[in-house]
């Protein structure tokens, strides 16, 4: 009679993993579009909120904290900014429902790229050479990450 320990030593059928076919180009599905949307909306939301806070902060410098909070929320650009930010959050939730989080989360570093390019286009801020290099490295990482994407739904 085989002992239990013998049974446990029986070879285990190894699960063979079929390597996924390498993609020729980038994977741009609905999830990737939603991710980009969430980044752009979050960045624009922040910008609007900050713009409104600057106005409200100087107007209510000597008020109490609650009055100030109320004044902040009453600022049209703060309110609009929060709404825009909320839409970005919904887009993020949608993307997360379609892809792995270990794939999506590092891609949010594109935020820095969007903010830098937005500052250049909208406010004519200059981008130092080192920062361009950083942007290039982030974009390379994002492309690499995109190529590591597997599974999920379209």
């Amino acid at each position: 009679m085989p002992s239990i320990s013998k049974l446990q030593e029986a070879p285990v059928m190894l699960e063979t993993k079929v390597p996924s076919k390498p993609r020729a180009g980038l994977r741009v599905g609905l999830a990737e579009v939603a991710l980009l949307g969430s980044i752009v909306f979050a960045a624009s939301g922040h910008l609007l909120i900050k713009e409104g806070l600057n106005v409200a902060a100087s107007a209510t410098m000597h008020e109490g904290i609650w009055l100030r909070l109320l004044a902040y929320l009453g600022q049209p650009s703060v309110f609009l900014g929060l709404c825009v930010y909320g839409i970005g959050t919904l887009a993020w939730i949608f993307a997360v429902s379609k892809r792995e989080i270990s794939y999506l989360f590092p891609l949010t570093a594109l935020n820095y790229v969007v903010v830098a390019l937005g500052g250049r286009l909208l406010f004519d801020e200059s981008i130092p050479l080192k920062r361009w290099a950083g942007i290039l490295v982030v974009v390379c990482g994002v492309v690499l990450m995109n190529r590591s994407s597997e599974g999920g739904t379209e």
Binding site: V96, E100, P106, A109, Y112, K130, V138, G141, V142, S148
Partner: protein, 119 residues
Amino acid sequence: MNSMAALWASIAIGGIAQILLKRGVSGRIYFSRLPSFAWWAGLLRSGWLWAWGISFVIATGLWLVALSRIEISYAFPLLSSSYVLVAVLSKWLLNESVSASRWLAMVVICAGVILIAVA
């Protein structure tokens, strides 16, 4: 509160929040390309989603506390360490397959974020 402690707590809680969100939505499948209104409404009844929302608010609060005393150019590159935390937790708790090429991509992205911050 020590501002460095607030910064690290914010990074850790922010990373955990993403795991909670992923756990919350992955139990709720939909078969069309876009989720229905009922799917979105269902999220409001998910404990995971509430846990995500609460941790997100806490992480944001701690981040603001930290930023009031720490230079943003110092704090931002540290934020990218949460990518690694999320990858480790997603592998451990959500059984995500984090391949070698994904780790490499993560390292490249972190390097880029550091370059942007110090520039």
